[in-house]
């Protein structure tokens, strides 16, 4: 169609735009026409101005710029012709929102139009003011609008009331002006005015506690109004599907909710009416359900009687069974809001909620999921998790993460047995592994680590799962860890809780290697796999294959893996004798206690030391018992086994706690206790601050004679109430001629702060003779024990 060169009529313009085959064509038509419109605006043709603006508004609706029409709106609004005003005000609402500079300029026109006599014109002005009036405009025109509240015309009054609502939203201080007329307006019979008034009162109450208090006095009146509306018979004008003016009912119910909240008296006043509406409203169509829904919301929010609350929850339960999807949606949303405050009432509808999980509509199934998770408790956990697992398998991807973490959380809180917990976690990892949170792996390993009776079961199940699918990283990580720790249990015999599983060593190693090599495995996962392989070297029979693999990865490009491989390889070579101890199984994990890794490290350290340090205390222990015979405590009791530490291990642990360096010098004077042929024994004493019952004695043996003292052993005994520990001596030779002294540390605990007595026994070789000396130390300084 050939585009005409003169201005088009609106209808023709629209037609031409619709006929354009491409975006470019459409743009061309519009640009051409806009040129005409602009020219027309310039020429200032008043008669057709409204037509031009209408065309421009159409073009604007399609998304094209129309700002050059803003001033024309102003001109049209100022015109006396109704047609002009109609289009002008429409233009103002579309083009002149409050962010535009020209916006304020219409204030004057609006003011004039509000005070002139034609209702339709007043209507236009009020409409524009309430749609786009800025705060400043509202302040300027508040008194005008106030006047209109009392005008005879219902048409104008209903609009004025709603304009007041907008004004309060924009300039809250205007509440002072619009609060007083409300009382009178409530006596209106005109539904439109009544509705507007209720809306206005609602707005006032929401903004000011004082207004709220003021309007609470009107609760009885509001109840009366609602009752009248409800009991009025069918009115052609206002009824929808047999429900009297549902718009008005809903608005009143909403106001009652605000007024009755936290207020016993008001709640009580509306109780009967709410019950009446809840039971008598026709629920066959949406209009009735809308009213019922609002009623339920009100009942649940005010201080209603218990019976009424139960009624409300049951209505929601009925909504859940409604064939209308929209009704089910609002029911689920509301029940979710109530699940904390009215938990047991909502629990009754749990089966229906679970049914809603099967909804094909994503909005509904999401709501159902949230609600289901909120309803899980210790008595229904197994059934509920079963349902949720089923849901997890088929739900849309955007819900999988929430569902998975919800299941794991619920399992954490309510698991009846550890085995069930492990099974549930395993199922989640298998179904939705990629969507679980990072800490799921840590939780699972902690869980398994702490359940000794389930080690065999866990490793078998995880092995089977891993063998099937090595792509889901959390599952792979947990499984490789488990196989590494408990791989031996995987191979031996059968576990009665799982199906018989014949697994060969080679299969296990092959699987781990697969994980290690797979491009699907994250770097962290590969680290897990490598460590697992190394651990298995002590749990399986042969380790050649493992050594090979570890060796290969020493040149891996991934730095983390490379470092591990090098360290593990060193373990195989230089420290092979320590490998078994280092790779020992971790002790049982305290749930929620220290980290698994730290415990493993600690046990490795103690294991290491037990191999490294020789222990000379045993022979001393037996000899000391002899010494005990010589020393009786002041009470004269027969001797009984002294509280020495007989086991080497525990002595070692104490070793770790003792300071390795000599104790810092203390003011207690040293004591010479023995001297024979050049061999001298001195004692020095230290009371470490902070431990008043502890005394550290260092025995120093020096040899000024010409011959060495060899095979030197010093033993000590103390009264019953004391505890004595001897550290290993620095040596058993005291070289001649003032050579390096031999030292030995004695650790004495004196919990009763009793006077210290000390007996020493020495045996050694000197000048070719074996010597034995036993003596009690005299003159021990009191500071050593006080």
């Amino acid at each position: 169609m050939v585009a005409s060169s003169s201005s088009l009529k609106l209808q023709d313009l629209i037609q031409e735009i619709r006929e354009a085959k491409t975006q470019a064509q459409e743009r061309e038509v519009i640009q051409k026409e806009c040129a005409h419109i602009r020219a027309s605006f310039r020429d200032g043709d008043p008669l057709h101005r409204h037509r031009q603006l209408t065309k421009l508004l159409y073009v604007h609706l399609l998304g094209y710029p129309a700002h050059f029409g803003q001033m024309e709106c102003l001109k049209l609004i100022a015109s006396p012709r109704f047609t002009d005003k109609r289009v002008g005000y429409l233009g103002a609402m579309l083009l002149l929102d409050e962010r535009q500079d020209a916006h304020l300029l219409i204030t004057n026109s609006i003011k004039n139009d509000l005070s002139q006599g034609i209702q339709a014109v007043q209507g236009l002005a009020l409409c524009t003011l309430s749609a786009t009036g800025s705060a400043e405009m509202c302040r300027d025109l508040a008194t005008e609008v106030e006047k209109l509240l009392l005008q005879p015309s219902a048409y104008v009054r209903k609009k004025a009331v709603l304009t007041a609502v907008h004004m309060i939203r924009k300039a809250p201080e205007l509440s002072d002006i619009f609060l007083p007329p409300c009382a009178q307006l409530l006596h209106e019979h005109h539904h439109g005015i009544l509705l507007g008034t209720i809306t206005l009162i609602t707005e006032l109450c929401e903004r000011s506690p004082a207004a709220l208090k003021h309007f609470r006095k009107m609760v009885p009146q509001l109840v009366h109004i609602l009752r009248t509306v409800v009991t009025t018979g069918y009115s052609k004008e206002h009824s929808i599907s047999g429900v009297s003016d549902p718009f008005l009912q809903v608005q009143i119910l909403r106001l009652l909710r605000i007024l009755g909240r936290n207020h016993e008296e008001s709640s009580e006043t509306m109780n009967d009416l709410l019950a009446q509406v809840a039971t008598n409203t026709d629920t066959s169509r949406n209009a009735g359900n809308a009213v019922l829904f609002e009623t339920v919301l009100t009942i649940m929010d005010i201080r209603s009687a218990a019976g009424l609350r139960v009624l409300a929850v049951n209505i929601l339960g009925r909504f859940l069974l409604n064939t209308d999807r929209n009704i089910r949606y609002v029911a689920l949303t509301s029940l979710l809001r109530l699940v904390q405050s009215d938990h047991s009432a909502v629990q009754r509808h749990r089966p229906t909620v679970v049914e809603c999980l099967r909804e094909p509509d994503g909005s509904l199934s999401r709501r159902a999921l949230e609600l289901s998770l909120a309803l899980v408790n210790s008595s229904n956990v197994q059934a509920m998790i079963q349902e949720l697992q089923g849901f997890l398998e088929s739900c849309p991807p955007d819900l999988q993460a929430d569902c998975a973490s919800g299941i794991l959380l619920a399992a954490e809180r309510f698991a009846p047995t550890k085995r069930w917990h492990i099974d549930t976690t395993l199922r989640v990892l298998t179904t939705a592994g990629t969507h679980v949170r990072d800490d799921a792996v840590a939780s699972l390993t902690q869980l398994i680590g702490g359940a000794q009776e389930l080690h065999a079961y866990s490793v078998r199940r995880l092995y089977s799962a891993l063998a099937e699918d090595i792509s889901q990283q959390p599952l792979v990580q947990a499984a490789t860890w488990c196989i590494g720790e408990y791989g031996d249990l995987l191979l031996e015999g059968s576990c009665e809780e799982t199906e018989p599983l014949q697994v060969e060593e080679e299969e296990v190693l092959a699987l781990l290697e697969r994980v290690l090599q797979s491009h699907m495995s994250l770097p962290a996962t590969r680290g897990y796999a490598l460590t697992a392989l190394v651990k298995l070297s002590t749990r399986l029979r042969g380790d050649n294959r493992i050594r090979q693999v570890v060796s290969i990865y020493r040149s891996c490009l991934d730095v983390e893996l490379q470092q591990r491989a090098v360290e593990y390889n060193t373990l195989f070579q230089k420290y092979d004798h320590m490998r078994a101890a280092i790779l020992e199984k971790i002790p049982l994990v305290e749930r929620g206690g220290s980290q698994v890794d730290e415990e493993a490290k600690e046990s490795k350290e103690t294991a290491q030391l037990s191999e490294a340090a020789p222990v000379p205390t045993e022979p001393q222990a037996s000899k000391l018992l002899d010494l005990l015979d010589l020393l009786d405590g002041p009470s004269g009791d027969a001797q009984h086994p002294r509280p020495l530490d007989p086991t080497p291990g525990s002595a070692l642990i104490h070793l770790l706690n003792l300071p390795c360096a000599p104790p810092p010098p203390a003011p207690i004077p040293n004591l010479k206790v023995f001297e024979r042929e050049g061999l001298q024994l001195d004692l020095s004493f230290v009371r470490p601050p902070g431990t008043p019952t502890l005394l550290l004695i260092t025995v120093t043996a020096t040899n000024t004679s010409g011959g060495d003292v060899t095979h030197f052993i010093c033993q000590a005994a103390v009264p019953k109430s004391f505890q004595l520990q001897l550290q290993a001596p620095s040596g058993d030779t005291v070289p001649a001629q003032g050579g390096l002294p031999m030292t030995q540390l004695l650790r004495i605990l004196n919990p009763k702060k009793a006077p210290l007595r000390l007996k020493l026994r020495l045996t050694y070789n000197h000048f070719g003779q074996s010597v034995q000396e036993i003596f009690e130390v005299n003159n021990l300084p009191v500071e050593a024990w006080q």
Binding site: Q11, I14, R18, T54, L57, Y58, L61, L62, F82, T83, R86, V87, L90, D97, R99, I118, A120, G123, L126, C127, S130, A131, T132, Y155, K158, K159, T163, V165, H191, G192, L195, G196, T199, E237, H238, I240, D245, P246, F247, L248, V250, Q251, R254, A287, N289, A290, F293, E294, L297, R325, N326, I327, R328, Y329, V330, P360, D361, G362, S363, L364
Partner: protein, 147 residues
Amino acid sequence: MQFMLLFSRQGKLRLQKWYVPLSDKEKKKITRELVQTVLARKPKMCSFLEWRDLKIVYKRYASLYFCCAIEDQDNELITLEIIHRYVELLDKYFGSVCELDIIFNFEKAYFILDEFLLGGEVQETSKKNVLKAIEQADLLQEFQKLL
């Protein structure tokens, strides 16, 4: 109500009524995204969805989608009734309304809406009164033409 949009199955806007102040750019962005979201909904899905921090209520009548954005405390079910009432008003006015009527008489669609809702709230619950008001305004317009 914060805004109401009418658009076709192809995503073409037929009416936009905003009750909150937003820049042209913001309005365009919201319109584009919301239209996309609603058009992606399958026929059997419910009429409500959460979008940003708003509740969206929409319903399709023939080739037109009627889409409202309401606030958290607003009643979704009554909003469906609002949409339905508006369609009934259009239907009564145009006589068996179809999308074309709204395209070629878009300004009338606005005038009718403005007699039913004001500032985002329902101003008149009587169908009769709304239609009477439109009728009188049209008459006034015609009358002035004769002068």
